[in-house]
Amino acid sequence: MIENIGIEQFLILSTLMFFIGVYGFLVRKNLITMLMSVELILNAVNINFVAFNKYYYPENLQGHFFAMFVIAIAATEVAVAIAIIISLYRKIRTIDVEQVDEMKY
């Protein structure tokens, strides 16, 4: 049934996700949530890649591969980020981003 879904829908979806992600990153105070917003962005990207590949350039698989790599790297990124956040939490006992401003000016 995918035939009767145009690429536009995918693109709209991905774009929405992208901006939701950005929005989330900017407004959510919880570090973990901000990380999730980043994930949204990355997934929007993945959708883009796959959609483009499927609809426009089916002859090769660059898009798909790219998406996979993105997923993998996103995983590592999240891993490291979480680790750091935890170590931070150990010290200041909060993951509210607004508390994370010892260094300024």
Binding site: Q62, A83, I85
Partner: protein, 475 residues
């Protein structure tokens, strides 16, 4: 694909080898003998650096995904030298923070891993490699930034770095995806053929540019820099401010002039505006800083602004002078950071006022510091002068006289705050200045190398001629 092709990646392979060896040997050490790994790692890395200079043929592999030519090799060697100096400087720091590390091998391995990322980034021939390189370069560093478990600042810096890096890479990726969508390829070569500069591609281009600009910390993508630099362990700070910056600049040039070269006026306008912003903002912030790491962070932002002048020229000379400047910048900045590191390792003092009367007690350190600062400020006869001069020259050749004027005025402002440090060290007096420091041999060697580089590079015009003969010859 044959092995000898495979060995085009000699730099990366060697690095990985060094990393693995260090890691393996590290497993054999006991807590009592773990410090022995330090000399081993340093020597191994030195060997790797030397081998890097051996001649090697160039070419593409993985269908153009990875490509080397003389200039990339040159760049990688420069980075090697830089990292080598950083290792030398970090030895003392490592010893001081024994409790933090149950093994030192991890430290070296992580740095080397990130350096591998840089190398891949430099020789990336398509966006995938570009993306992988960037992440591989950034993520380990984020871990190292946060390594000082005891300090809040360290973790805070780590958080700030990793999160904003994630955001920026997200933005970059979105741009890449759009490029892929509009051109149907992720290979630089093909993209550049198809790329025609319609508004969607412009959007994509700017997204990608933003991602790189983030790494170089160009205004307005620079705000993370100061905090991360301050919070991070000082050697990591120097790594961030020198190595990752240099590689990012390199790739920026590739992107601007190999991939997106069909939209010159947009490119130039963006560069024009951002470079003015970058150097001015950087300077204005640097003026007030007391913490030297933060100070150097802002000064390095300003320096980035100057480098853009070389890029905006867009000529052979321009790129040559950018690479030349980066080479000098490695030595100057590492010299400055080295002194700061030596002092903060010995006394934990990192503020400018602490340096009052330093010359009385530590003349050598202060001299190296002065040389480095003068080199950063672009004062003859030290190398920095030539680097800056050629950057401005290449911009002037393209007729950007106003831009050059603004830049030079900024140089004057920067001179002001560099002189503040010199003043503290040489002119100001204080009751109890920092007592006599005798750093370990590694630090001394590191600083000596920096000083030698700062003093020498300017006088051997052949270095520049060499770079110029290699620089992006293919364009």
């Amino acid at each position: 694909m044959t092995t000898d092709q495979f060995f085009l990646m000699r730099h990366e392979i060697l690095l990985v080898a060094v990393g693995v060896i260090v890691l393996v040997m590290d497993l054999m050490t006991t807590p009592a003998t773990k410090h022995r790994i330090i000399p081993v790692a340093i020597v191994l890395f030195l060997i790797n650096t030397i081998i890097g200079f051996l001649p090697i043929e160039t070419g593409k592999i993985f269908g153009g995904m990875y490509r080397t030519d003389d200039i990339t090799i040159l760049m990688k060697n420069a980075l090697n030298i830089g990292v080598f100096i950083i290792f030398l400087q970090s030895a003392e720091w490592l010893k001081n923070h024994e409790e933090k590390f149950n093994s030192y091998g991890a430290y070296f391995f992580i740095v080397i891993a990130s350096l591998v990322g840089m190398d891949y980034l430099i020789s990336s021939g398509d966006f995938l490699m570009f993306f992988i390189g960037t992440e591989l370069a950034t993520i380990p560093i984020a871990a190292l930034v946060a390594i000082e478990k005891a300090k809040i600042k360290s973790s805070e810096a780590g958080v700030k770095l990793i999160l904003s890096a994630a955001l920026s890479s997200g933005i970059t990726l979105f741009g890449i995806s759009l490029i892929y969508g509009t051109t149907g390829s992720i290979y630089f070569a093909e993209v550049s053929k198809v790329f025609d500069g319609n508004s969607l591609q412009i959007l994509a281009f700017i997204f990608i540019f933003a991602g790189v600009a983030f790494k170089i910390s160009i205004v307005p993508f620079h705000l993370w820099t100061a905090d991360v630099y301050e919070g991070a362990p000082i050697n990591i700070t120097s790594y961030l401010s020198v190595i990752s910056k240099a590689s990012a600049f390199f790739i920026l040039i590739i992107l601007l002039y190999k991939v997106f070269y069909v939209i010159p006026e947009i490119r130039n306008n963006i560069l024009y505006a951002t470079s003015i912003l970058t150097m001015t903002i950087g300077n204005l912030f640097a003026i007030r800083q007391q913490n030297l790491k933060r100070f150097l962070a802002f000064s390095s932002i300003a320096q980035a602004g100057f480098v853009l002048l070389g890029i905006i020229g867009g000529t052979q000379i321009g790129f040559a002078s950018v690479v030349y400047f980066l080479l000098i910048y490695v030595f100057s900045n590492l010299g400055a950071f080295g002194v700061v590191a030596a002092i903060s390792n010995a006394t934990g003092k990192e503020n400018i006022d602490d340096y009052n009367g330093l010359y009385r007690t530590n003349p050598k350190l202060s001299l190296v510091m002065m040389l480095s600062l003068f080199s950063l400020a672009g004062i003859p006869p030290v190398a920095g002068f030539f680097g800056k001069f050629f950057l401005f020259m290449s911009a002037a050749k393209q007729g950007y006289f106003i831009l050059v004027l603004i830049a030079v005025v900024n140089v004057t402002i920067s001179l002001y705050y560099y002189l503040l440090v010199v003043k503290a060290m040489f002119i100001n007096e204080q009751e109890n200045p920092i007592e006599r420091i005798d750093s370990d041999m590694y630090t001394k060697i590191g600083l000596a190398i920096c000083a030698a580089g700062i003093l020498a590079i300017g006088f051997f015009g052949t270095i520049f001629d060499f770079i110029n003969s290699k620089a992006f010859g293919s364009m």
